[in-house]
């Protein structure tokens, strides 16, 4: 397992190099000039030239790239064109907020989604099952910004129970509405995936055997059924966690959450290449580690899955 993890971590290096080249080329071929974008007034050729020099985009792309790689090897992600601040500090300010919110959302979607899925699978075609099916369908269909605004008006403005925007003092109250909004669609998906895989598993012979040998209902459902049904759910949650950590533009915008999603989104609009590339590199790292984490969970959940390293060493 150690070799496997090491190998996976080493794989990150070519991925990051690939990403930087790809993004550099993409940001370069986009015809828009970041200097032109900022300098709305008084854009004389001299002023534009000065700004390009300041941004470091006056040189050919390979020179820029080489300089970037040199910086990157020292862990320096460069300076934002627009804010003229270090990208490292911009990301350090915003990523933790997105990650914190993502974890709260994941907890919500795991608990509620799993429970709803299990209940509707076990009580197939019951009232509860129909309720879960209908409500998950509705959840998937509701646009996030609408749900967010509804929660704000309901719980924030009308009832006054919860704060409507920002992180405030960082207490959990501020997390509730954005986390619910962020988790809404995924909760529905988790419930649906759990339901369908549970139904699949519960129709297996070994479940019948388990019932036949007199195991309690709960024991059959949770020890035999759920365990086997969890693999696709874990996959979904793992990938979702990676996605959510990358920030959620809509949720962050509606709730004024100081996360990274909106920061990168704005940077794309403003052609702020250092922020876009730096943010993406961090996101790639998060994804790689999340995938690795999910793979390790697989092995724990299902002993038939082996994590294989360089040789043929089994866990």
């Amino acid at each position: 397992m150690f070799y496997y993890i090491l190998k996976r971590i080493l794989q990150i290096i070519p991925v990051v190099i690939g990403i930087t080249i790809l993004l550099f080329v993409l940001m370069y071929v986009i015809p828009e000039d970041p200097a032109r974008l900022i300098l709305e007034k008084g854009a004389t050729p001299q002023a534009l030239q000065n700004l390009r020099e300041k941004m470091g985009i006056d040189k050919p792309v390979y020179v820029q790239y080489w300089r970037y790689v040199k910086q990157l090897s020292k862990g320096d992600l460069g300076t934002s064109y627009r804010y003229r601040r270090s990208v490292n500090s911009i990301l350090a300010e915003h990523y933790p907020n997105s990650i914190k919110l993502a974890f709260v959302a994941i907890i919500i979607e795991t608990i509620i989604g799993l429970l709803a899925g299990i209940i509707s699978a076990v009580r197939k075609y019951s009232f509860l099952d129909v309720l879960v099916t209908v409500s998950t369908t509705i959840l998937v269909c509701i646009p996030v910004y609408w749900l967010g605004m509804l929660l704000q008006i309901g719980f924030g403005l009308k009832l006054g129970w919860l704060p409507m925007s920002g992180m405030g003092d960082g207490s959990i109250r501020f997390y509730i509405l954005p986390a619910i909004t962020l988790a809404s669609v995924s909760t529905a998906f988790v419930a649906r995936i759990t339901r369908s895989t549970m139904l699949d598993v519960m129709s297996n012979d070994y479940i019948r055997t388990a019932y036949a040998k007199g195991l309690s209902n709960n024991s059959v459902i949770y020890k035999h059924g759920l365990k086997n049904a969890l693999i696709p759910v874990v996959t979904y949650i793992g990938i979702d966690l990676g996605t959510l950590m990358g920030g959620a533009i809509l949720t962050e915008t509606i709730f004024a959450w100081p996360g990274v999603g909106r920061t990168i989104y704005l940077a794309i609009l403003q052609r702020d290449a250092p922020v876009v590339i730096g943010g993406t590199i961090v996101l790639v790292l998060i994804f790689v580690f999340m995938n690795l984490f999910v793979d390790i969970i697989y092995a724990i959940l299902d002993p038939r899955i082996r994590l294989e390293g360089g040789g043929n060493i089994n866990v």
Partner: protein, 561 residues
Amino acid sequence: MLNKKVLFALFAFVVISSLVVALFTGCKISTEIATTTAAAAETSAGETTKAEESTTTAAANQPKTGGTMRLHINEPVSLDPPNSYESEGIQIARQLWDGLFTYDPATLETKPELCEKYEISDDGLTYTFYIKKGVKFHSGKELKAEDFVYSWTRLALKDTASYLAYHLSPVVGYDECQDGSAKELKGIKALDDYSFQVTLKYPYADFINTLGHVAFYPVNKESIEKAGDKAGEMPDGTGPFKFVKWEHDQYVELVRNDDYYGQKAYLDGVKYLIIPDEQTAFLEFQAGNLEYTDIPVGQIKSTEADPQWKDGVIIHPMLGLYYYGMNLNAKPFKDNLPLREAISLMIDRQNICDVISEGVNMPATGFVPPGIPGFQENAMGYTFDLEKAKAKLAEAGYPEGKGLPILKLGYNTGAGHEKIAEAIQSDAAKIGIKIEVEGFEWGTMLEKAKSGEIIFYRLGWLADYPTMDNFLYPLFYSKSSDNYSEYNNPEVDKLLIEARSTADKAQREAKYQEVEKLILKDAAFAPIYFYGTRMIVQPYVKGFYLDNMENYDLAPVWLDK
């Protein structure tokens, strides 16, 4: 055994997740305590003022000291004057700094602020400024003339690559600083601690009127050098409020400057809450968590009708022009005055303002908006008239639009411009002009308009200073970099230069008015509307005045609650 493993994995996952969350929130504890104590201090201060209030109800209109004003804002780019080029940074910088000059909020006339007095040489080229004594930066250092020399030189230098450097372009030595051949701005020198001299390249009578701009604010060399890369986040100003903290994408906090040389502010502090979504900010306002915000488009009429809010609604024209530009060196606009007139005549401006902007914007009647000293009412001879537009179109050689190629109209996407473009498209169809609308990214559009790839486009111009010159010179002087329509009228050029060197205010205004009339006669482009503000303030906020440049001064503001 296996069952245990499953449960363990699930359990571990939840526990790890909660741990991570706890860890992150845990890190916050120290700051949390700090903010709670600060908040507690605030409330107790608030209570004392309330107690005072009950004893002094007789003096209800007496300003009360205390409280924090919370204003909605977007994430500013920078609080360093040479880089405060967008409205958010400017709003905050205006509270943190006093400039050499400022604008009277009601009349927009320029008035001295840090300046004690000034002298202008007879040839209009040399300005001598005497600054107030005893003004201190927030860091404690006294403001001296050399600070202006440092600040303005820094603004002009190539290395600074300031977005606002162009404000100094009339000053001697500016070009050398920009191209990097000089490290000092030749046109500015300190005479002693409290006076300095500025030399201009050409007479520019409105120079004084430009000096209220944020770009000219004096910065403290020591603070700038100490801050290094963080200069944008560590402002050291001269104004009635001091900078406390900028938590990015969350808030910017200011506190009253008790060492202020002038009338001290009533508010204890100011908190700018960074909320990207106007709708969310408006909800926070309705919940009483904000004192000042924008009214979201779509809710203007209903807010104006709401008895709870109507008194706080601030809707008035701004010094800004929304227009449709035409490249005058490209067919079919080149040398075809009747066509350009027809385009201007066909636009139902009132309809656009009433329907799309809910009455916030005001139909343009010229290039220079109301509120600017010298504004001429109904300067534009052509207003909405379809019959006349048809006649002009025929005169232009395209009766009922026959023979006229489809006009491609460029606009920048994502800011609601397509609604106006579509309205104008349908107006145009009524007289037979076919318009195809095409969205671009902002920078692309500017570039293409400049290079002449797009010859028909929408643009806006917001005033830097309340002068007629600020509209007419940049947009229409033949060599100006903001003259996208490539307007080139030697007579206008000559008059503009003349106006700039006319010291007498009335005579100068008359010249600019003549320029505006000439350009309007040329139908150089089609003005659509003058921008308007759509802000709202809580009824208990007193002494708040939003001027036509959307500037405000929080020093005289107090909270009546």
